[in-house]
């Protein structure tokens, strides 16, 4: 090959671009330290066998796979939460709960367009494990908002929903919501202040607690917010950049994941898409 191009879906970072990432990481580090989240690292390469039970069908398909010398299937880390669940269930069962952990590592998934983030996607985020009370949800959502506030320049909005708002919906309606097919769903799902989710006592209490946050006005409650039903069991949230119209962070409660690795514990977390923010800043 004569060209010096990097493969599809990955790219070089020149000093200026690297500095943009470092600035974002510095903001995140400061907030994570302040809120007492401890940094952990999982390997870039994992056994498919070890993580498979924690991955939804969609992510399983998008995982980048190859073989080791024994013929076992290896994968590149396709998300951060699943390896962290594996790590906690293998090495941290004796540690006092709750665990407040954070990470700053890229994930790798198959991609057909660089516009959707490419193959290597830098993420920072937290996982709050072993605490099922609302305080954990509040802490995680506030931490996410703190990081974005600290960056200063982002005009973001945050939508909050809850898996219980989907109870009673038929599979067809759920599927329609998942694929943003509001024609089949029958309406554009309602969004607004906390009065639209009064039927959910959890979201009502959550809203009261979040009102104290300086960026509380950025929050909208959304009755039709669904993401990855395989993962989420409670609160779900999604942060978007109003200018670039991109999702820049998402998260929620996933109480069933750690059980799949033999250590049943409630958990809640989020991930910020560093590249989506960096591209916007330019």
């Amino acid at each position: 090959m004569k060209s010096h191009l990097t493969p599809f879906g990955v790219s070089d970072y020149t000093p200026n671009q690297t500095q943009e990432i470092r600035d974002i990481l510095t903001c995140a580090s400061t907030v994570f330290d302040h809120r007492l989240y401890k940094r952990i690292k999982t390997p870039t390469i994992e056994y498919f066998d070890s993580l498979e039970r924690g991955l939804g069908d969609n992510l399983k398909k998008k995982t980048i796979k190859f073989f080791d010398k024994n013929g076992d299937v290896l994968i590149l880390r396709p998300d951060n939460t699943t390896p962290i669940a594996r790590l906690v269930a293998t090495h941290m069962k004796e540690d006092p709960l709750p665990l407040k952990l954070c990470y700053m590592d890229p994930i790798f998934i198959q991609s057909s367009s660089s516009l959707d983030g490419g193959i290597a996607r830098f993420q920072v985020g937290v996982e709050y494990i072993g605490e099922e009370s609302l305080s954990a949800d509040v802490d995680v959502i506030e931490t996410c908002m703190d990081v974005l506030d600290k960056m200063g320049t982002i005009d973001y909005g945050i939508d909050i929903g809850h898996i219980e708002l989907l109870h009673g919906l038929s599979d067809e309606k759920r599927h329609a919501l998942l694929s943003n097919d509001y024609l089949s769903f029958g309406a554009i799902p309602k969004r607004g202040d906390d009065s639209i989710v009064y039927s959910s006592s959890i979201l009502s209490s959550l809203s009261k607690r979040l009102k104290k946050h300086p960026s509380a006005s950025r929050i909208t409650y959304n009755t039709g917010l669904v993401k990855n039903l395989y993962y989420y069991t409670g609160v779900i949230f999604e942060v978007f950049d109003k200018n670039s119209k991109k999702v820049i962070a998402s998260g929620g409660r996933y109480d069933n994941l750690l059980g799949k690795f033999g250590y049943p514990q409630p958990a809640v977390g989020f991930a910020i898409k560093v590249d989506a923010i960096r591209k916007k800043k330019r």
Binding site: L183, I188, R191, K245
Partner: protein, 210 residues
């Protein structure tokens, strides 16, 4: 201001008709202008005048908040967008058509299919367990079986006239399509109120008509 990407041609005419009926005013030369976008007189709407196959890209990546595009193109491209409304106009079908001597039972292994709708054609034959080779063409698809480039075609038809004129007959219908209103999922959040109002007026007028 809400930005709407509209497919130039028949869908633009119908969309303008619908918007004008709902009180939006555009300059008279919208249909003939060489401009790439036009604003309404109240500066509430901006129409991007783009090619039909480009509408999903503008909406998916947030360059437009809304789009008017045929369901056929959505099924072919499966873009990551929100589907809001069936606008009912612009109806057509994607069909498998072949020489008049052919029957549906002649769609067998190693058949060669000319189509612009590569994904839809692939899906059609795969779901029937038939191994097909797709030749991608960009227009005048009817010429392919006449010249021996393909056995059959997979193409859009509204009235069936062009097929008949080229001695082709419909063997099967892959799907039917009408124009749909689509939205960028985030644009929908940023402009919730304005888009809801627009959709309400459109669906009101729409149901009165049908």
């Amino acid at each position: 201001m809400i930005t709407i990407a509209v497919a130039k041609g028949y869908l633009l005419t119908e969309t303008l008709h619908l918007l004008t009926k709902n009180g939006y005013r555009f300059s008279d030369d919208v249909l003939t202008t060489r401009k790439l976008f036009v604003d309404d007189s109240s500066n509430k709407l901006r129409l991007l005048l783009v090619r039909p196959w480009d509408v999903p890209a503008y909406v998916e990546h947030g360059a437009a908040d809304l789009g008017v595009v045929g369901k056929d193109i959505l099924l072919e491209q499966t873009p990551n967008i929100a589907t809001i409304m069936d606008l009912s106009f612009g109806s057509c079908s994607l069909v498998i058509a072949g020489p008049e001597t052919m029957n549906i039972s002649d769609l067998t292994h190693n058949i060669i299919v000319a189509s612009k709708f590569v994904n839809s054609a692939t899906h059609y034959f795969r779901s029937r367990g038939i191994k097909a080779t797709i030749v991608k063409l960009y227009g005048a698809i009817e010429l392919a079986p006449l010249t021996g480039l393909s056995d059959v075609i997979c193409d859009l038809t509204a009235t069936g006239r062009t097929l008949k004129e080229n001695s082709l007959k419909i063997l099967d219908t892959v799907f039917t399509s009408t124009a749909h209103l689509i939205a960028n999922p985030i644009g929908l959040k940023v402009h919730t109120k304005d888009i809801e109002t627009l959709v309400q007026t459109l669906s009101h007028n729409h149901s009165k008509n049908t």
